[in-house]
């Protein structure tokens, strides 16, 4: 009994929820731009900003709910069948989201197509379940999941906004440039997804290298 108390005490020390818990997913280890996970929905549904936002929020919900449940059940799930258990839990929440979106807006449901159901196989969610939710307290797991979800939504919006402005001349459905704008149609078609994400990655890599160079300069003159 005493032993268990000590164990929980030592556990609680590295159990605090800090800004870093949240920020890890939002920026430092952004699932899309840094870890390159869950690429399929990132490229497929970002042809308009509204689709991107909906997809991001749906994924965030599944991340949060499955993170909370897995974290609550983390002591009772046997090690050998954990992946199967996680998948079933995730699939349950995805089914809920699927039917909810269908009930709220049929247009949105048709625009997102099979990609709502394909949230099940989004590596971000299974990755978080395995690496984080199964090892941490529910509240901490949920904070981290919220950060990851927000980071994912942010990345989707980055792509969605650029592609919609260039490819359709509008933003969230509002016309930006008037009737004389010649839309760059390829941007809302499949190749646009690859090209815009590639461009964002180039930008971030450039910023990172610049930062590294300026940080390095005063220390070692090269």
């Amino acid at each position: 009994m005493r032993n268990e108390d000590e164990l929980t005490m030592t556990k609680r020390e590295n159990d605090t929820i800090t800004w870093e818990t949240f920020n890890e997913g939002l920026w430092r280890e952004n699932p899309v731009f840094v870890m390159l996970l869950g690429m399929c929905p990132v490229l497929a549904v970002t042809n308009s900003a509204i689709n991107a936002l909906a997809m991001g929020l749906a994924t965030t919900f599944v991340l949060l709910a499955s993170g909370a449940l897995i974290s609550l059940l983390r002591r009772s799930i046997p090690k050998q069948v954990r992946i199967a258990t996680y998948i079933v839990i995730i699939a349950t929440f995805v089914t809920i989201v699927d039917y909810t979106i269908q009930a709220i807006s049929l247009d949105l449901y048709n625009a997102l197509g099979a990609f709502i159901q394909l949230i099940v196989v989004n590596c971000i969610i299974l990755g978080r379940a395995e690496a984080y939710a199964s090892r941490n307290r529910p509240l901490k797991a949920m904070t981290n999941a919220l950060g990851m979800g927000m980071g994912f939504t942010f990345a989707l919006l980055c792509l969605g906004v650029v592609r919609e402005i260039l490819g359709a001349g509008s933003l969230f459905g509002f016309d930006l440039f008037g009737p004389r704008f010649q839309p760059w149609v390829v941007m809302v078609l499949p190749p646009g997804g690859f090209l815009v994400l590639g461009a964002w990655l180039l930008l971030f890599e450039w910023i990172r290298q610049r930062k590294a160079r300026t940080a390095l300069k005063p220390a070692t003159e090269t």
Binding site: C40, T95, L118, N122, P190, G198, E205
Partner: protein
């Protein structure tokens, strides 16, 4: 859609609606395992095999679910079947070709979370294909995936030999390549619907 002929379904899945380059399914292995031709080919073939197995299973399971009117369980049933099919492939590969098993590494179990496979099962259900049509569709999708990953691997092998600015090394240039491949596959759009 019973009027679709088998050859149409096959060509449509390979070229016009290529799973990777037009529908954005299965991008993780497409970007992850396409470094070398030697690993890209077995990866494509393994994916194709899992696609065939899971397509057959998904067809039978869907019949069962529809007859009991519990379609809301479709997603859970499909993913469970796919996970077991992948396990089967993994065990077979480990037994017959350990070297290949090691070179594919983490990407082999990750076929489970390859959206191309679940996507295939879902699409064939939405399109209400019959048994033979589903089988041909799975074959086409697998061939399309293999084609895409092979093209990508060939390009990246060439690219390794050339010098590039440092910021383009890594994922960014792969994505740009994917964009160009996707652009060229759009030329097939007239073939299908």
């Amino acid at each position: 859609m019973p009027e679709e002929t088998l050859s149409f379904i096959f060509l449509n899945a390979v070229l016009a609606n290529n799973f990777v380059l037009a529908l954005f399914l299965g991008l993780c292995p497409f970007l992850g395992v396409s470094g070398k031709l030697d690993t890209a080919l077995p990866m494509g073939l393994a994916t194709m095999f899992v696609m065939l197995v899971s397509s057959v299973c998904a067809y039978l399971i869907n019949l069962l679910l529809v007859s009991f009117e519990i379609e809301f369980l479709r997603l859970i049933a499909y993913i469970a079947v796919i996970a077991s099919a992948v396990q089967l492939v993994e065990m077979a590969l480990k037994k017959f070709s350990p070297g290949l098993f090691r070179s594919l590494g983490i990407f082999l179990p990750l076929i489970t979370t390859n959206c191309a496979i679940l996507g295939l099962a879902l699409f064939q259900t939405f399109k209400e294909y019959d048994f033979l049509q589903s089988l041909v569709y799975a074959l086409g999708a697998g061939a399309g995936f293999t084609l895409a990953i092979l093209l990508m691997a060939g390009l990246r092998e060439k690219l390794d030999l050339s010098t590039m600015p440092t910021i383009t090394q890594g994922a960014a240039v792969s994505l740009m390549l994917g964009g160009l491949l996707s652009l060229s596959f759009m030329g097939f759009a007239g073939l299908g619907g």
